[in-house]
């Protein structure tokens, strides 16, 4: 088949996704939007009444909100992993996923970014977290991990956005070619008047490499910073050196899980089986397995060393995690994060889309629970037994959490209808190589 025809075909296949949406699409979109709105109104209610509407209490100052924050940041990470790290490693299978993964990153960071604000006691002063000249003569405390968060997350958002958009420009130019009327105008504007001239490609390639090169250490730093929100404190179960790499791996793990969760239905609905093949899935499954092993390794090390010396508090804490009030969550987490992924050693299972989808769901749940367990159990029982107490999420917290899912999927649904879900240009380039 002549490459030019192949390319035309390819463009049609991918852009088919942008055609008129089915009723089901609208249903899904509306459901997500409603969830999103509910979440927002609950947040407003919380602002007016006070943090008391959450289940948080004296020992347990952080709960569902911070869990959600870490969870969404984690989701974001695989996007960068797939687009940047795999790009640097010249791993071929990335271009089946990178576009949607990058979109996922952007939306996930947006979602995550809300939670630090939601969990503030006085949200209306959130801007105090940013360093700006003020007549109080006060700056922010750069020693505080939360300030590191502010910088890490905002940097991460900016860079991911740029990275995503850069990759999009040539593809938008393609859509421009197909679009008509008003939409054509919009696409023209966002294509920045891309021509595909030598000069453009020349700088474009460099930029892409540089952005990838920046994104890679960035993604690692971001989740390290997130992990340090906990590791910097002295609470048993939080204060441990392995946290940074452990959280990074966990993040990529959960993110990869989410990629699968998103791409499997997308592939089915938009009939992209030709472009997103089983082999691609096998690769992504291997990533899942690999990161799962790292996470498991961290679990084992954490546990082992807790009982290694006479570290009374650590030992007490991990016993509590294992057998205490939250043990059920912990065991579910272990199943989803450590046991189930092991089955991916079996090639047949690796290559079964349905099975992968199921595993990915468990991974999402497991990773959410992991953060929850780490955050809550450590706070619930720390040094002073008198101050021990339990936490359980309130309706408001659950509502806002669901709202965040609504927000994320709403954006994703909009994305799949307005932008090419695969990197057409890269697939062309890839095809030309063979």
């Amino acid at each position: 088949m002549k490459s030019i025809e192949y390319n035309e075909q390819l463009e049609r296949d991918v852009l088919a996704a942008l055609s008129k949406p089915s009723p089901w699409y609208w249903v899904a979109l509306v459901v997500c939007a409603l969830l999103f709105v509910t979440g927002l109104s609950l947040w407003l209610y919380q602002i007016l009444k006070g943090m008391g509407v959450s289940g948080l209490n004296n020992p347990v100052g952080w709960g569902t909100y911070i869990t959600d924050f870490v969870f969404w940041v984690g989701i974001a990470h695989s996007g960068t992993l797939i687009s940047a790290i795999l790009f640097l490693f010249r791993a071929k299978f990335r271009n089946a996923f990178n576009r949607s993964a990058e979109a996922m990153t952007v939306f996930a960071v947006m979602t995550a970014g809300l939670f630090p604000l939601i969990h503030l006691g006085r949200t209306w002063f959130f801007y105090w977290l940013f360093p700006y000249p003020n007549q109080r003569g006060l700056w922010v405390n750069f020693k505080s991990p939360l300030v590191w968060d502010v910088f890490a997350v905002s940097t991460y958002f900016t860079i991911s956005l740029i990275f995503w958009y850069t990759g999009l420009v040539p593809d938008i130019a393609i859509v421009r070619r197909y679009a008509t009327g008003f939409r054509k105008k919009i696409y023209s504007i966002f294509s920045l008047g891309w021509t595909g001239s030598l000069r453009q490609w020349w700088h474009y390639n460099r930029l892409y490499v540089f952005l990838a090169a920046f994104a890679t250490p960035l993604v690692i730093s971001v989740h390290s910073v997130v992990s340090w929100d906990f590791a910097m404190s002295i609470i048993p179960g939080w204060h441990t050196t392995i946290f940074a790499p452990y959280f990074v791996a966990g993040a990529i793990f959960s993110g990869t899980g989410m990629v699968i969760t998103l791409v499997v239905p997308m592939r089915k609905i938009f009939r992209l089986e030709k472009l997103i093949t089983i082999n691609h899935f096998e690769k992504i499954a291997q990533t899942l397995l690999f990161t799962s092993l790292i996470v498991t390794y961290s679990y084992i090390v954490e546990f082992g060393l807790a009982f290694y010396g006479h570290h009374q508090f650590e030992a007490a804490h991990f016993t509590y995690r294992l057998l205490g009030d939250y043990q059920v969550l912990y065991w579910i987490m272990l199943f989803g994060n450590s046991l189930l992924p092991l089955t991916l050693f079996v090639r047949k299972l690796r290559r079964s889309i349905v099975y992968l989808f199921i595993v990915s769901i468990f991974v999402n749940i497991g990773m959410w629970l992991e953060r929850f367990v780490i955050i809550v159990t450590s706070l619930a029982k720390d040094f002073d037994p008198y101050a021990w107490g339990l936490y359980k999420p309130s309706v408001v917290e659950i509502g806002i959490t669901l709202g965040s899912f609504g927000m994320f999927f709403m954006f994703f649904l909009i994305f799949v209808k307005v932008l090419p879900v695969l990197s057409v240009t890269e697939i062309k380039e890839e095809a030309a190589h063979e």
Binding site: K49, G50, M51, G52, G55, L56, N57, N58, P59, V60, G61, W62, H119, L120, G121, R122, T123, F125, F126, W128, L129, L138, V140, N141, K143, S144, P145, L146, V147, V150, D229, M232, S233, I234, I235, G309, H310, Q312, F313, L379, K381, D382, F383, D384, P385, Y386, A387, W388, G389, L390
Partner: protein, 946 residues
């Protein structure tokens, strides 16, 4: 009639500094409210101080009121904002208990009766005028006498001038004054002293002079007589003559666990123990005074083994007690509480009295001359008499003043019925109690902080009661009411004011000058004739002849009613703070519970919060369980304010009621009741909050690992504020907690918040069960760590470390990330989950020097930084440094045993540095390297005692 004019009457120009305070006469001007001038934002002046007396319980501690000038509802006025004990006061010497600290909540209580009321035709209360009410009373009184009925005046404990006035009133109006009604009447003690010494009184126990104290059931640091004084004196005795204090009790009480040694004794068997002590001591003739033969031969004589078996005390413990008595120079035994309020409580009291006498009782340990002023207090017998005369419809007008029999008496319904047999029922009260509900005329009383008066807690002491604020409602003092009724009857144009009456009395008693002195000090000590107590052979012999040692202790379940340190007999329940602060023994705040022995609980498989139904003579009461360590098996405890023992036997000899409820059955209902238990766990397992035990030091590797620091400690220039807390002196009375609440405007969050773990206390008392032998406490508050983990994590510098070593919290900078609280190993930071505000008019008591926190911010103890600021300003004016002892925190100030020492650690000679560097001192969770500024001195192990 305001202070100024009154002082004029006293013949003192308002210029003279009446009370040692600069602000006082300014304050006087401000007693009359006036609309505020434009610049309403500047109003925090220096506070004014008044001396007065606490009327929250019969102990009558001397109080110094701090009144702040502030704007309330656009009106500038002065408001009492803090109560503290008068330093050097013979009763409480500067200290105040938690109830006293909280009594401001009574002053500003929204539920107070605000105007006189009268029951109209259809039986509803309607507002009336005083005149009308008086008129009705006068008419009814006359009518009743006409019918040949008896009018009666039934009141709570009344002392001082008021007592005299009441007599005048009763004579004038032909009313019988009944013996006063107190739940804790201590009738057996009075009776016993009558038998043994012909002195039907409760002596003043001078614990400070004892070198060995044996308390038998008497909860001396909770409610017995004057707990503040007792605690204070126990500490004095510890310092002076190295007192060792043993406590014997059938149940378990805070007092018990605070004693240097505690013995659990079988129910009713105290009397055997005392008898045994008497006998054995006289046999080894180590008695200071030997009992006359005719008495000693009547004292049962049992072998040590029998006694050991009867009492449940081990033989060596018995020997230990004997040797203690034998070797003590000035031993003191105090029986009371649960040990005398029982079937053979009288015997117990008598033997205790005999033991007192025989072991060399002198006026400096058991002082009858300064006997506690309980003479006019009646017993259950008197109540029965009243009930009889009500039954026979002999009562015309019944005055019920400052007491609530319907709530506290057994068979309340019956009493309500009986009351109906009167022509008219007049209530003098500040609250709509169940008794007041049953009356026809309600005369609202002013709070003692709104009225003049005096009190005589014990012979030889006269306390001043003077107002710190105008009456907030149309209320009057009892004195005024009685005088006005009399005046209205005699048709006088205007009645004499009670304070005029007082002046006359005081002038006639002490003369003008002395009166002023008394007002300045707040009290006056007057000489009393000394009349040594002599053993009355006949009385004692007569009693012993037919004394019954009948009641044997049994293994059936028994419900023991104990007094409550928070509610006293129940009267202090109306103070919301008393439910907010945990019960020191169980750490329960709101609601009721039944204490179940841990052994019983294990056997029955009950856990905290399981609901049980207690069947006692037909009635079934439901309580959630609180497992209580140290409580003997089959013994259940419920606090006095929660239930009244229905129909428990009353001792016909003394009128004392028994607090033991027998033949009960307790079964689980299967329900699970949410109950706010503040303590997450009672077991410390060597986490470093209590001092680590020598034998198994949890940080043995310390030496092989040099204590490392990543960065150098930072500088302090003149001050590093620190604290030393002596847990050996601390008696767990929680007065410090209450003081902190009032001083720092802490929020009252309520039961729901407590169930969600959202209490706001900045300082808390943590009980730890030590290997099922005893309960040790630590007092946890912000440790003001030098390397505070909470500080660096705050993104906005809302908390940071001051040069003076204070871990400060900037309320208006805080955005509420709660990271600091997460990272605080002591968990002493508190977050404002909602806008916790005191409802009006309680907000009148807010301390204007401390900001009231809004929702969404973190708050914490800062060593009463407002007080530090004041002292430093003062020092700065006189350009010098703050002296040691010049400032103290609210918690330290009110501590009856001075367990808390606050000061400057940079000053090597300050009391706090000395204590901090004493070899006893340790710091909480020291191995975390947080460098706390709070140093603890552990409770001395009772081993050292034996």
């Amino acid at each position: 009639m305001d202070r100024r004019n009154f002082l004029k009457l006293l013949g003192i120009s308002s210029g003279t500094a009446l009370i040692s305070s600069c602000g006082v006469d300014k304050a006087n001007e401000k007693i009359i409210p006036y609309v505020i001038p434009p610049e309403e934002d500047i109003f925090v002046g220096n506070p004014a101080y008044f001396t007065t007396t606490c009327t929250e319980c019969p102990a009558n501690c001397g109080m110094q009121v701090t009144a702040n000038e502030k704007v309330y509802h656009d009106v500038r006025n002065i408001f009492p904002t803090k109560l503290e004990g008068i330093a050097g006061h013979p009763v409480n010497d500067g200290a105040l208990c938690m109830r006293g600290q909280a009594s401001l909540f009574r002053l500003y209580h929204p539920d107070r009766i605000k105007r006189p009321m009268m029951r109209d035709g259809d039986g509803n209360f309607r507002v009336t005028t005083w005149k009308e009410a008086y008129a009705k009373i006068i008419v009814e009184l006359a009518a009743a006498t006409g019918e040949g009925k008896r009018n009666m005046y039934f009141s709570g404990r009344t002392t001082g001038t008021m007592s005299g006035l009441t007599d005048d009133f009763c004579k004038e109006m032909s009313v019988e004054r009944l013996p006063e009604f107190e739940v804790f009447s201590h009738a057996n003690l009075k009776k016993a002293n009558d038998i043994v010494f012909n002195r039907p009184e409760i002596p003043h126990y001078r614990i400070e002079n004892a070198d060995f104290l044996l308390t038998v059931g008497a909860d001396v640091v909770e409610t017995f007589m004057n707990p503040v004084a007792s605690a204070n004196h126990i500490q004095k005795a510890k310092d002076k003559n190295n007192l060792s204090w043993y406590h014997i009790e059938p149940a378990v009480s805070l007092t018990g666990v605070q004693a240097s040694k505690r013995f659990a004794i079988k129910l009713h068997s105290e009397v055997y123990l005392l008898a045994f002590l008497l006998q054995s001591l006289s046999q080894q003739n180590s008695l200071k005074k030997s009992l006359p033969a005719r008495i000693s031969r009547l004292i049962p004589d049992y072998s040590i083994t029998v006694i050991a078996e009867r009492t449940g005390l081990s033989e060596e413990n018995l020997r230990l007690l004997l040797s203690r008595f034998a070797n003590a120079k000035t031993p003191l035994i105090i029986a009371g509480g649960v040990s005398t309020a029982q079937e053979n409580g009288l015997e117990t009291a008598v033997f205790a009295a005999l033991l007192q006498w025989a072991t060399g009782m002198t006026d400096n340990t058991v002082d009858f001359d300064h006997a506690e002023n309980y003479g006019s207090v009646g017993s259950m017998l008197d109540v029965r008499k009243l009930e009889d005369s009500l039954k026979n419809k002999q009562v015309g007008v019944l005055f019920i003043s400052r007491t609530d029999p319907v709530t506290y008496l057994p068979e309340a319904e019956q009493f309500v019925e009986l009351m109906k047999n009167t022509r008219l029922r007049v209530a003098l009260s500040d609250f709509m109690t169940s008794t007041v509900q049953e009356c026809d005329i309600v005369l609202p009383l002013s709070h003692s902080l709104e009225a003049w008066g005096d009190a005589a807690p014990r012979k030889g002491i006269r306390n001043v009661i003077q107002p710190a604020i105008e009456p907030q409602y149309d209320t009057r003092s009892e004195g005024d009411i009685l005088l006005q009724i009399m005046a209205q009857k005699s048709g006088a144009a205007s009645a004499q004011f009670y304070n005029d009456y007082l002046i006359d009395k005081w002038h006639s008693l002490y003369g003008e000058g002395e009166t002023v002195g008394m007002l300045e000090r707040g009290y006056r000590e007057e000489p009393v004739p000394s009349l040594p107590a002599i053993l009355s052979g006949d009385g004692t012999e007569a009693f012993l002849k037919n004394a019954g040692f009948v009641v044997e202790s049994s293994d059936k379940p028994v419900l023991v009613i104990t007094p409550s340190i928070r509610a006293y007999d129940g009267r202090s329940k109306v103070l919301p703070l008393m439910s907010e602060i945990p019960d020191p023994l169980t750490t329960i705040t709101y609601g009721e519970w039944i204490s179940v022995s841990d052994k019983t609980a294990k056997k029955m498989g009950w856990k905290d919060r399981d609901e049980v139904a207690v069947e006692l003579n037909g009635v079934s009461l439901k309580f959630p369980v609180k497992v209580q360590h140290l409580l003997p098996e089959n013994i259940y405890m419920v606090q006095r304010d929660l239930i009244y023992p229905q129909a428990t036997p009353v001792d016909s000899r003394s009128g004392e009621e028994s607090w033991y409820v027998k033949d009960i059955s307790v079964n689980a209902t299967g329900n699970h009741i949410p109950m706010p238990i503040m303590s997450g766990s009672m077991h410390e397992d060597n986490r470093g909050l209590l001092p680590p035990e020598e034998e198994e030091h949890p940080y043995e590797h310390k030496e092989e690992h040099p204590v490392g620091r990543m960065y150098a400690p930072h500088e302090h220039d003149n001050y590093r504020w620190g604290m030393a807390i002596d847990m050996d002196s601390c008696i767990g009375c929680s007065a410090c907690v209450a003081a902190c609440y009032v001083e720092n405007n802490l929020a009252i969050t309520g039961k729901k918040a407590h169930l969600n773990g959202r209490e706001m206390s900045w300082i808390r008392l943590e009980p730890w069960v030590k290997d099922d032998e005893t309960i040790n406490y630590d007092l946890m508050l912000c440790q003001q760590c030098d390397d505070a983990p909470c500080e660096p994590v705050c993104p906005v510098y809302a908390t940071y470390h001051s040069k003076e070593g204070l871990n400060t919290q900037v309320y208006n900078r805080c955005v509420g990330t709660r990271y600091c609280s997460n990272n605080c190993p002591y968990k002493v930071r508190r977050f404002n989950w909602f806008d916790f505000r005191l409802p009006e008019p309680w907000d009148k008591m807010y301390n204007p020097e401390v900001s009231v926190r809004t929702r969404g911010i973190m708050e914490k103890c800062t060593f009463c930084i407002q007080r530090i600021r004041h002292a430093k300003d003062k020092a700065k004016d006189e350009n010098r440094l703050v002296q040691d002892g010049e400032i103290t925190t609210a918690c330290a100030q009110t501590c009856p045993t001075n367990a808390i020492t606050f000061g400057n650690l940079m000053d090597k000679n300050s009391r706090v540095s000395k204590l901090a560097h004493s070899n006893r001192a340790y710091r909480a969770l020291e191995e975390l390297g947080t460098e706390p500024a709070v140093h603890y001195l552990p409770k001395k192990e009772s081993k050292e005692e034996a």
